[in-house]
Symmetry: C2
Subunit: 331 residues, 2 copies
């Protein structure tokens, strides 16, 4: 395992220390050492909170910042933050207007957020939630509530954070974030597994010369293991999974997000995007904005995810709003 | 080779097509398909140009943008752009005030830039150059002219681009960029090799359980191969190579840039930065600004580089100026 580590058991705490020092213009420590909060939170707005396991950088703390999330709860690698961390993130973000907790559909996160919401209620903090479930490959369309959240969460945070920054009340922020994720579909293709530092060997297998379509951010099984394909064929396969599910059709305006899973060279993401862009345009779909880069990773996995969100006027305005965090800077 | 590719011979062209589409708010195609130019170049300023081989994203085209470079010449993977591409980048950036060509010290780039400068002169375009040589490990201190340019180039572009944006004339831009790189030292530690797509196997070896201190961005040999160390020991080793070379001492104000080499999880860069920050502060060195992330990579190499630049008032002002490109967004 060729990694930059001290004691693997301390990696999250050490990472957080370095992160807070490096980005002290954007974030600061909260009372709970497993909570990161934005340095400048405009007064009187609805709080926006997220959280999740570590190892997915920029997710989750990289989306704490201006017009994005106000605080994030931090879990161990690939594990949910505790209920206490989610609660403290809500406390850090609450200004009496309530808190929108926007997170991904994983059993640990669901359980801990649910507890945090109850505890917050006792303190008089109203927390409402949106649970991201954009990963098409993780369950059939008629069981969307079972689907996992993946890179589409970035667009949900972008929209929810912008709505709160614009002065939306809690229900309006929740409605915008819910619409964002309802309008969003993703799929991933994994090319190599990743190794959790404390384990020291890959926790799943992708054989050389093969690829796993629909793989999850923690190596959750996909829908098909097949021989490694060219970038153009991968693009077509991803588009063919994502587009029919919503469905996205001619004349739709969309945001496209292509994220690397960690170790894939960024130049290859542009090769993939080039063909995705061509395929979407061929179908008459209008790309309003594209994000290409490492937006939601899984340690040193190779591979990529494609995320498409259908826009309406409200979503377009919110997506286009400036933002400033470690992981997303846009003017 | 688990990569996202079509024909490896076309990867640079395909990447460029995707890059231009994804970032059409920042960059646009030039006449020469191997040149990327900024979309919005303020009128009447000195041109700032760079260029280099592909596979180092965000370098080089990711630093074309507002208050950074105006154009970049694009080479094949790990190969210099042609003289014609450097010339066309200069043409794209020239507004009659001359062009500062800020690039890294590699034989191919030196040769092609030299030819481009001559050809530009015949057309009445004055091109002056700064050659980055921040890699401490690549030659002894008394042979600095032999040292390679690595991630310190990012700070050179930041400073040169800002000086030109502020209305500096060609000599002032060159002087600022030269001071930036003269005040900058870097070192890298490599943990795994990388594979050029057209070759299909690693072009050098780093054995599991070892690391190569001082490795170059193309796998050029470092100064020592030793057993893999903890993050804290790597940090100390890097600091101990970089600080004495300038030397950086108590009371100095510096910029610190920690860049991943491509496949190292970003969380590990923060673990490394945490200790680097501690070591510098222990020595009484003041960190004015830190950049941590994948700023200058080598395909899917694992490892990281440390870059330290000493600031004076001019450099501080230029480093702090806003910038907006694919690879560097700062407000």
């Amino acid at each position: 395992m060729q990694r930059i580590l001290n004691n693997p058991d301390n990696i999250v705490d050490e990472m957080l220390k370095g992160f807070l020092k490096a980005h002290e213009d954007i974030v600061e420590a909260a009372k709970n050492p497993r909570v990161v909060r934005a340095k400048h939170i405009p007064e009187g707005k609805v709080g926006v909170v997220t959280g999740g396991g570590s190892g997915h950088k920029p997710a989750f703390i990289g989306y704490v910042g201006e017009n994005l999330c106000d605080a994030a709860a931090v879990g161990e690698i690939c594990s949910s933050p505790t209920a206490a961390a989610f609660l403290d993130a809500c406390r850090a973000a609450d200004q009496g207007k309530g808190v929108a907790c926007l997170y991904g559909n994983y059993s640990g996160d669901n359980m801990n957020v649910k507890m945090a919401v109850k505890m917050a209620k006792k303190e008089g903090i109203t927390v409402k939630t949106v649970v991201a479930n954009d990963d098409v490959a993780s369950a059939p369309k008629d069981e969307r509530e079972k689907r996992r959240g993946v890179a589409g969460e970035v667009l949900m945070w972008k929209v929810g954070g912008a709505k709160a920054a614009k002065g939306g009340d809690l229900d309006e922020v929740i409605a915008a974030a819910q619409k964002a994720i309802d309008n969003t579909r993703s799929v991933g293709i994994g090319l190599t597994p990743c190794t959790l530092p404390a384990v020291g060997h890959p926790n799943f297998e992708i054989k050389d010369g093969t690829m796993e379509v629909g793989i999850g951010h923690h190596g959750e099984p996909g829908i098909e293991v097949c021989p490694l394909e060219t970038a153009d064929k991968m693009a077509k396969r991803m588009v063919d999974v994502v587009l029919p599910d919503y469905p996205f059709t001619e004349g739709d305006e969309v945001v496209v997000l292509v994220s690397g899973l960690g170790a894939t060279p960024v130049m290859e993401l542009y090769v993939l995007y080039d063909e995705i862009d061509r395929l979407l345009k061929e179908k008459g779909i209008l790309i309003h904005r594209a994000y290409v880069g490492n937006y939601f990773t899984s340690l040193e996995m190779m591979g990529a995810t494609l995320t498409v969100m259908k826009l309406d006027e409200e979503l377009k305005e919110l997506i286009d709003m400036p933002a400033y965090s470690m992981g997303l800077k846009q003017k």
